[in-house]
Symmetry: C3
Subunit: 677 residues, 3 copies
């Protein structure tokens, strides 16, 4: 989609020539060539440079930069520069500064620092996007438009309060309805006038770590805040589209970033792009899951890896170096899971300010004789070699995991039953079990089409949005396998409990009734005792966090609790429903249990791994025009052997034919092209 101009995986990253002088610019070009760089993201933080006062705009430097790069084979990812407002603007129009949850008005500083409902911000940001679009609408260098940068954060100012009330009126129409869905009869919080409503904050309804007295209010504020930022994005997006209808526009996302509902945002993005910053200690399965989430935002369309560090970060507590080979390995991991670009933050390290200790293609040493540059250049060479072979290929999965931002917000704003419940961690447990057996997974929203999947897993489906229970029932009736867990089916989209017995709307499909929910202390556990062997599962497994105390209402009891007063109650159930099955896991199990359970479910559905590999060797597959591209990625330090079975493959990197048992070097990558049968 973005490959029209140059049929290959674009390679490059963030570039800030405005921090450097002319001679450095020339040296940059030389280095870019050595590294195989063909795309640069520019103008990300140049608002103050572009617009030194209210009426003056200077784009000459940008003209020169774009031309200089383009004339040297580097395409442009053009940012709109609105991610940090100029200091003069903050001084003249304080409405642009945010107010935090403690009611503190911010002063000029930082980035992503503008109130999303500030009239000043919206006016000048939109104007900037429009001016850029007008100026560069015909420039052949521009590959993609990059609106602002890493939108995020919250504001609680009076302007946001006013906008929140408007948003609420549009959503609920009447105060009567609002009072009902927020259950304001509780604690006598009934509102008689829209103006009585204030943003939920540390000064009103919030306490502790993200807890709220009124989950309904807080949930709506999270939605409103995400929407407010989205409106800012759309002002710029529409301004550009109006002038350049065929432009490709994105903004860089941040994976599992809680404040913004990316599933909603992605509807308004032409291509998804995101910034991947795993730590040394981040499980590779977690990074893989995040790529899959990002890919799922636009139904599997390839995405841009917009940022990653070539070597180290600066904002972590302990900024470890990426070990030799790891940058390449993780770059291919992104590609294996749907990325069609490989891009870095940053091309040249700053000389001052906080990111001067963030890794870069061109380090402070300034020359090409560094480990980091050598690795970058080698990867650049490979990407040239790969050409367009992988572009636009798709990752195909028969298993989906449901992920929902509203559910995330609602679960973690809940006061009770436990502070230890973290939605993403529970999702990751299920993801990891599939990842470790090389089963391809899509992370999908509740709006996604589920008909193409054989198995749908929705860990902690606490909130069931309107129509979703029906959709799930339809899926199962049609033969699908559905699995959900403890603390599911509890509330509707307003965090109001579905009365009559948990899991509410999911109850008949699951064939169970959850009577009580026990919260375990961190050092407590219960056990899952298998009543029948399913697949490799037999004997006992530990579980903890929450334990639903449930009764079967038609479901088969596959395992029971082993301890405490609810010993003998069901902990794992399966309900035949139509042509399919609905499974319930009533507690949070140890990994080996999930390994066995998901193995069993997949086997039953005839879903087999792409390849069987040793521990630490990841496999992901993209498909295009009848060819499968199997990425085999060895996260171990030492070489591993992988049996290809009866596959006849061609390694696109090593440029050799392979079959039988192959070796893959420590931290090595093989991309095997296999013709579909």
């Amino acid at each position: 989609m973005i490959s029209g101009k140059l049929p290959k995986i674009f390679y490059g990253g963030d570039y800030n020539p405005e921090q450097w002088d002319e001679s450095t610019h020339q040296e940059d070009l030389r280095m870019f060539k050595l590294a195989g760089i063909d795309i640069a993201t520019i103008n990300v933080f140049s608002w103050a440079l572009n617009q030194p006062d209210e009426v003056t705009y200077h784009f000459e430097w940008l003209d020169q930069t774009i031309n200089r790069l383009y004339n040297n084979g580097v395409y442009i990812c053009l940012a709109t520069s609105t991610a940090a407002h100029p200091s003069w603007m903050a001084k003249k129009y304080p409405d642009i500064l945010r107010v935090d949850s403690d009611g503190r008005k911010r002063k000029f500083g930082g980035r992503q620092n503008s109130c999303p409902n500030s009239p000043t911000y919206r006016k000048y940001a939109e104007r900037m996007a429009r001016k850029l679009a007008e100026r560069y609408k015909d420039h052949p260098a521009i590959l993609v438009w990059h609106v602002s940068n890493e939108y995020g954060g919250e504001c609680y100012c009076d302007g946001c309060a006013a906008a929140f009330r408007v948003w609420l009126k549009q959503r609920y129409g009447t105060l009567q309805k609002l009072n009902r869905v927020w259950n304001t009869a509780f604690w006598g919080h009934t509102f008689y006038d829209w103006d009585e409503i204030v943003p939920p904050s540390n000064l009103s309804e919030h306490w502790g770590d993200n807890k709220s007295n009124f989950q309904g209010i807080s949930l709506d504020y999270s939605r409103f805040n995400s929407d407010s930022n989205l409106e800012c994005y759309l002002l710029e997006y529409n301004a550009i589209k109006e002038i350049i209808p065929n432009s490709i526009i994105t903004t860089n996302l941040m994976g599992f970033y809680k404040p913004l509902d990316y599933q909603k945002w992605a509807k308004y993005m032409d291509i998804v792009s995101w910034d991947s910053y795993p730590e040394l200690t981040t499980p590779v399965s977690y990074t893989a899951m995040t790529h899959d989430l990002m890919r799922g935002l636009k139904d599997g369309d390839p995405f841009m890896l917009m940022e990653q560090t070539p070597s180290q970060q600066n904002w972590q507590p302990y900024n470890s170096l990426k070990r030799p080979g790891v940058m390449r390995l993780w770059s291919y991991q992104a590609v294996a899971r749907g990325a069609d670009t490989v891009m870095f933050f940053q091309l040249r390290r700053s000389v001052g300010a906080c990111e001067k200790y963030h890794g870069a293609v061109i380090e402070h040493a300034g020359h090409e004789n560094t480990r980091v540059f050598r690795e970058v250049a080698e990867l650049g060479r490979e990407l040239n070699q790969l050409g367009d072979s992988l572009l636009d290929s798709r990752v195909e999965s028969k298993v989906a995991i449901v992920f929902d931002w509203d559910n995330w917000w609602a679960i973690e704003k809940s006061s009770g039953p436990t502070i230890a419940l973290k939605y993403v961690d529970e999702v990751h447990k299920y993801y990891a079990a599939l990842f470790h057996r090389n089963i391809q997974v899509d992370l999908i929203s509740v709006d996604a089409d589920m008909s193409k999947y054989d198995i749908v897993i929705a860990p902690v489906l606490y909130m069931v949005k309107p129509g979703f229970a029906d959709k799930l029932e339809q899926f199962v009736k049609s033969g699908g396998t559905f699995l959900t867990t403890f603390f599911s089916g509890i509330v509707n989209e307003n965090d109001l409990v579905t009365l009559g017995g948990y899991p509410g709307e999911l109850r008949s499909m699951l064939g169970i009734w959850v009577e009580e929910i026990d919260a375990l202390f961190p050092d407590q556990q219960n056990h899952i005792v298998m009543k029948q062997q399913v697949g490799s599962l037999q004997g006992e497994y530990s579980c903890g966090l929450l334990c639903d105390l449930l009764h079967r209402e038609g479901a088969d009891v596959i395992a029971e609790y082993g301890d405490d007063f609810y010993q003998g109650m069901p902990v794992l159930t399966r309900n035949k429903f139509g042509n399919g099955e609905a499974w319930y896991v009533a507690s949070s199990p140890e990994p080996s249990f999930l390994d066995g359970l998901l193995d069993y479910l997949c086997t039953n559905k005839g879903i087999s791994p792409v390849l069987h590999t040793p521990k630490g060797v990841e496999v992901s597959q993209r498909t295009k025009n009848g060819t499968q591209f199997i990425f085999v990625m060895n996260h171990n330090i030492s070489a591993e052997a992988v049996d290809l079975g009866d596959l006849n493959a061609y390694d696109l990197l090593a440029e050799e034919k392979l079959s039988g048992t192959i070796e893959i070097a420590g931290r090595g990558v093989r991309i095997l092209a296999v013709a579909s049968e």
Copy 2:
């Protein structure tokens, strides 16, 4: 006292019909009957409903609710609805909103959210109480009036600052006196004008975790804040009493709640009521101690258990379920220690907002077929069976522990000698030693009559209020046994040190001089080496926290330190004084030491346990009209045997005669009626 209308232990709890529709109200009545519910606390958070604007009042819903309940056999605990102000009031009169210790003006939200010195709050709260009293003064359903709800928190607004100055003028008369008692010559803080005084806060004299530069100022602010809230309570109390002189009025307390001096409050309450929320991990001795504290607030009068959860809470980190039988067991524990009601928060679980995960008699499932409801109904049946047999019976004790709110505040505001000293924890150590041997204890204030006790224990009697040392001397001279500990006798009621040598006013009675006080690190300890055997105490015991370095001045040295440079100094002393003895424990010992010491002291005074029981089996006794009611409560999971000795008893629950060795089921309760000899 509250049993005039229905001669039994009232059973019920908080009920919020304003959150529900008519059909639910009818279902509630059915369920209440099944559960044996005969009292409902209503109107707790209905201010906004009752008063939708400045001039309008609606009580029709309340009329209907009261009548509906009363017509179905449910009496009313009528709250005044002033525990959370309406949102329109916050918008129109911002003086009602609090300012916190960081100077942040709160916005509308939460509960107990009104500035206690707000003219708006005081005017409308008093008016609401008056209107309710006028409307319901003759209604036969009303059993008790419940002013506001769980008073608490602090405010630091300018209105409070002004009121604080008035309070100080009344207390001290002149700035000269105020400067003296606050020792403002220190750090040159001399005040020359009352208006120079500001509330001590995080913006002025406070730092760290509740530490102050000027303990005298901070102590007075704690008193002032407690008094300010008390004034709010009294405005409502007096309004009701004026209209209904024979009404019974309470407000629900919260046990060891630091911000309010409940011993002062209780003087203005017709009956004490409180909300008991132990965690799964709270020692049962701690809950028992809290009941004893609450009972002691009005010299042993029975109290109301106003709230407890039937199953779980929502605001703890890990909200465990109460195990089967535990709700019943803990309910009887309250009764055993003086409660004449058993009441829950809440009768029906909310559908939304933060308490929707707080347990209730009627759960979200909505029907009677739940474990929780069955346990509630079974207890309801038993309470009916018990009738009025226990009502107004008294707990009689020969041992008292002194507890004093001013002392609590002063100890924990102290800068030095250690942050690890927690007053309630030290009190609990002594309480637990008595509890585990089934010795009945009263928790008394420094104003209480001590003549009825044989033993008085005052752990960490840091502050000695005017006249209290004389009173203690009188007690000991008359033959009493007194015991106090390290860090006692240090200051007067203004936190000014009593000069001339610690423990100040207690020195001659104790026959010791404390020269220095050493603070131990958490991983450090010293030892108590017995110089003579007393009771079962011999050999060595560990101690820590603080070690007083003391010299005998007439006292007998019973034990010495075993380590460090003060090895050989006295650590346990006994001073014969008049006809009694005064003991001093110079450090914080391990529990086994206190077990032995208190056993010895009780034995010496002829105080014997109610019964000897196995570990985990609690005993408490109430007495009425020559009958003793011995509650035997087994906190263990498995059954235990208890030897009744030569008692002939009748089990009021099992309705059987018992003697010899009896069995008590795991988590079981027996109430044994025994005629006094």
Copy 3:
């Protein structure tokens, strides 16, 4: 220098007679005589007493106090009383109150509570100093002037913001230069008007624990804040000097106190004084290092030990007593390292407010029969006995450690590579290795004359100020041994990176190039593998924190990394440069490595310990007029033997001749006078 009036080590401390009545004053005099007290610091916190309103000044009490003390043999250290403003001033002139980094305006309370740029504060503080100087300019009692007290903290008010802009204009002249040195092109923070600049705070550029988005801005604010406080000091200093040109003026410092650049301050102090408050767990080497830092502030001139506690503190978490003998031991430690006074906070314990649990010469008991008083009096006797023998003697060192406040600020504001890097801790590692072998060390600034040293050590010389690299090269070329560590030579005085390869300006002298910097997690380590034996160093040693990945450029590789992908890279290098050597330690090693390395370096330079002593026995030497005074201080509880070799010494305390192997009691001190050869 301060001994003109009474030729001995002055002995006394802080005294607050304004907190006490006349009879106590008389008792104080009696006690002072018993203790040998001959100096009292008074008027520290008497501003409100001295100036009860805007126009009135009362000094009669001060006249009386000074005369009473002087007539009883006690000299005066006269404070100016400006360390805490009067409450009336805060009320009338709120500009005197500070604003914190969170934007919160403080209210009246605490001490060191004045905004350093407040016009009110500056006017009245300067006026107070002037009035005091005029009044007491001829009083023979005044020994030294003590301006304010423990200057410290920060302010972020609008007044400071305005002053900061003035300070910046003076420093940088143009916004162009300012934008360049702050690298404001990063994140588009370019300033177009001075008024756009706001203090960097938690509301603008700061986050986490002292991290900044713009190190350059934050560094300048630290400098500005230190300078603002210094200006306040100088206003008072100059007012006094104008009236009493030959006065001796100081202000009491606090050792390694980060907010104030004491090396700059000391230029404006006639004598350095400081307050020493080690905890029970503070390594004695750390206290020694702090004394050496304070001594180094004025090129080795003797300093005043202005405050220490006789027994315990009140503001630590666990305020342990100083064990018997420790107060004396630590007093002599101060003297051994350059102190010419021994003074306490405080002479009499307060009766109220937070310091009432801080130890004092006169305890709450009020009499002389306490352990603390006896120890104080015994030391008083000894100091009389010592007379002027030690006064004005000097500590002479051949080894210097560079310490620089700007470097401290810059390192710890850095975002990356690790939050675990603490400058003082790294300095202390090197200091401790020298301390434990009784090698005398000076802590010097980058401005110091290095020509008198044989070895200069600069741990983590992250910032290289203009000219300092040249100076170091000159030092090495002339035969000196220089050692620095990982993360050195990175930035200039504005925290801008020296491009072209680390360690920047130090690169040629060190003969290495550092390519990358790896940050290790706290539980990670690498190893130093010796490639050749140097001194006692052989085999392997652990290291961690940061690991520089470096290449030799002429240096000899003495040791290599033992692990990870940079196994085999140099970790310890030595470069011959001119007549000297420059060493580089590329990671943070375990202590035994530094013991061996520094032993080797000293031995090579012919620097030998003052004495060889058992572990825990500290030695320091002062020299005067050809006599060496060797302090032997046993920090162990039990006695130790020390071999004097061929020294013939005279013990000034025991008043005996000593030679051969001598015994030194547990926590004992010997001061050996030895005639130089």
